[in-house]
Symmetry: C2
Subunit: 294 residues, 2 copies
């Protein structure tokens, strides 16, 4: 990983972790529920979504006390979605990132409710921003709802489930990922841009960037699933092939998937030209997403 | 039921139903997900929460195009909570209001996701209000998050689950209900007051009203569970006694529970004195909650 990105992550990730814990811990809630919410919040993860929010602000040379909160809100939505995706009725996963999944530790009922409450908390956090203009806050709430609901992440999860029993075309596979993971990543980029008072033309470019890194992220995940061991991934490797699921490698072959990944990467970085920086933080993130081992 | 309340409900309930359907139907979403969301939205219900929002506006002599949307947002939160409460890992109910529960029709995975997406939609709806002032919108989002999350409805569900395996005191039972059902009812009253530009002192009185009708609503439910047949209720009667659950009748006896109900009713209606109306819509609602048969 690039040294500048590494130092950015080393600086920001602990702030994100501390703030997420604070935002849950200060809620009045039954202790079992809070424990379950915090378990998944602290179960690791690369924090890519919140880091992207902060990366946008860094590239615009802006700073905002609200940015950290918005970053955390996005990560709480991601966390809730993982808890629900892992449930026995969905992916039925016992482990995530090498740790027992939420329902394995707290039981299914509490896992459902912890996910529910994490989603609610995310919206509550947006409503508690202290520096953003009211219009910006409302825009963020609307964007997060759109990105995470039936027309975004949750809809993508449904498409993904339905895709498990059908052979998908490349276009259909893209649709799944644009919704399931892309929408929330796009929220992160767009939210960062809103908090940076970006202009509309800049926002358009950043949306393209977000779309392309979202697809790059997924194709890289698919490639890693084929090329890594279970130990390297912290989750079962080759699970896609085992389940006959449509993936980029299954549709394009490993080499074709790699080429497609490079195309998304090129398109993503080209959208950053307007920043007029050779190594913007967003560029370094795009590089990392393509080059990562896990 | 009082004729004035009846005519209010006959006028407003169809508007609520139509608007909820419109608000879901206009979302771009996989058709199976939308179908599952709409199934539960249209599975009946007394629409008490959205009607209360509109009743507050009626008592203040106000009208707001946003009120119907806020009313629907509250009902979507209620609907999502019912879908998740009915899941096999929670209450494991096969029927609600005489119809098969969501997961019995669409499967557990889709039921979880439909609930998730209904919650998201509620917040999205608040962010789309067109007439409320931005500060009011943000206040509504903050209030709904507080009322429905870990410190509100979801927390109450956890307390309720934990209470099933322990004998509760009267105070603990009240805590369960203040969270599980009271918080969202309070949101409805407070939201109506905000949209009516109520003064702080009026808001205080309305919060007392909301708290008391919330508890009255629950105690009446407990009493009906003992005194009604399964057919009358549209759900299994005497289920509380069968499960050894702490209820108002089990703690106070049926007569004691009835007295407590009357006390809540009196306290609720006393909080409405400031309206200086003998038969405000909120008063008629309090009467109805106490006198209803189902």
């Amino acid at each position: 990983m690039d040294k500048r990105l590494q130092s950015f992550i080393s600086e920001k990730a602990p702030l994100i972790d501390a703030e997420m814990n604070r935002l849950i811990d200060t809620e009045k809630a039954p202790s079992s529920l809070k424990e379950s919410m915090l378990y998944s919040v602290n179960a690791g993860g690369k924090r890519i979504r919140p880091l992207l929010v902060l990366a946008v602000l860094a590239d615009f040379g802006k700073d905002s006390a609200d940015a950290l909160k918005v970053a955390c809100a996005a990560e709480l939505i991601h966390t809730y979605s993982l808890i629900h995706d892992d449930l026995p009725s969905m992916d039925d996963d016992d482990f995530r990132r090498g740790k027992p999944t939420n329902h394995r530790v707290f039981g299914e009922a509490t896992a459902v409710l912890a996910g529910d409450a994490l989603q609610t908390r995310a919206f509550g956090i947006l409503a508690s921003l202290e520096h953003a203009k009211p219009d910006q806050v409302i825009r963020l709430v609307a964007l997060l709802a759109d990105a995470s609901g039936a027309n975004g992440m949750v809809g993508g999860q449904v498409l993904d489930m339905e895709g498990e029993t059908a052979a998908l075309s490349l276009k259909e596979l893209e649709e799944v990922h644009l919704h399931k993971t892309g929408a929330l990543l796009s929220f992160c980029i767009e939210a960062g841009a809103i908090l940076s008072d970006a202009e509309d033309a800049e926002l358009d470019q950043l949306r393209k960037y977000a779309k392309n890194i979202g697809l790059a992220f997924q194709i890289k995940d698919d490639i890693l699933d084929v090329t890594s061991t279970t130990e390297q991934l912290g989750k079962t490797a080759n699970s896609d092939a085992a389940s006959d699921k449509s993936t980029y490698p299954s549709l394009l072959g490993l080499e074709g998937a790699q080429q497609q990944l490079e195309k998304y990467h090129l398109d993503a970085t080209a959208s950053l030209d307007f920043l007029k920086k050779e190594n913007s933080m967003l560029k370094l993130f795009a590089d990392y997403i393509v080059q990562r081992d896990v």
